[in-house]
Amino acid sequence: MINTLRELRAERGWSQGDLADALGVSRQSINALETGKFDPSLPLAFRIARLFGKGIEDIFDDGLGHMKKAAE
């Protein structure tokens, strides 16, 4: 899954460790999320979205969003 976590973190000047602490997860988790090696659970995705004040779909893209838009 593609995500904008790295960009959002950079905008705020946070390190991976800062974001990990804010979410209560390991730095490895943040790295795995940013590099797309790991997809978060729904509760973690909500926590991330709330932290950045955005919707889940603003941060995470499963690559099928364009199909939904085309159908509309």
């Binding site: 730095r27 490895q28 988790s29």
Partner: protein
């Protein structure tokens, strides 16, 4: 499941792990010393000593289980995958060795070694997976 952060879960693990290991060390050395006092230790006493020595290992396994429940989901996934792989390696090794033993190719293996084989393979796989997935950290 209690809601604890990754750091808190690790702290809880370390805090409990050290005393369990102290108990294990005391049990191993104390038990061996006690049994050496007898020319032929009574079976019941040997059994009790052996079970007391093994109990802290059960404690460590429980701590590993608790840590996997309390840690963050990514680490849990890594740990569970490493445990499963460690278990499979141990099982496969045991089966291969068992067949070789059946045809007298190798000597009989000490059952005691199964535990260390599991912990070693689990630990190695977990370290390798952390190294490969942990590459490229930003401070």
């Amino acid at each position: 499941m209690a809601e604890v952060t990754f750091r808190e879960a690790n702290k809880r693990y370390r805090r409990a792990f050290v005393p369990v290991m102290v108990v294990y060390t005391i049990a191993v050395f104390g038990g061996s010393y006690l049994l050496k006092q007898f020319e032929t230790p009574p079976t019941w006493l040997a059994a009790i000593v052996a079970l007391i020595m093994a109990a802290p290992v059960g404690g460590v396994l429980w701590l590993m289980w608790r840590l996997s429940r309390e840690t963050d989901e990514y680490t849990r996934q890594q740990q569970m995958a490493a445990m499963a792989a460690g278990g499979m390696i141990t099982a496969f090794f045991s089966v291969v060795w068992g067949f070789l033993e059946l045809y007298n190719v190798v000597p009989s293996l000490w059952t005691f070694l199964v535990g260390p084989i599991f912990f070693l393979s689990y630990g190695l796989i977990y370290c390798v997976s952390r190294r490969s997935f942990g590459a490229g950290f930003e401070k």
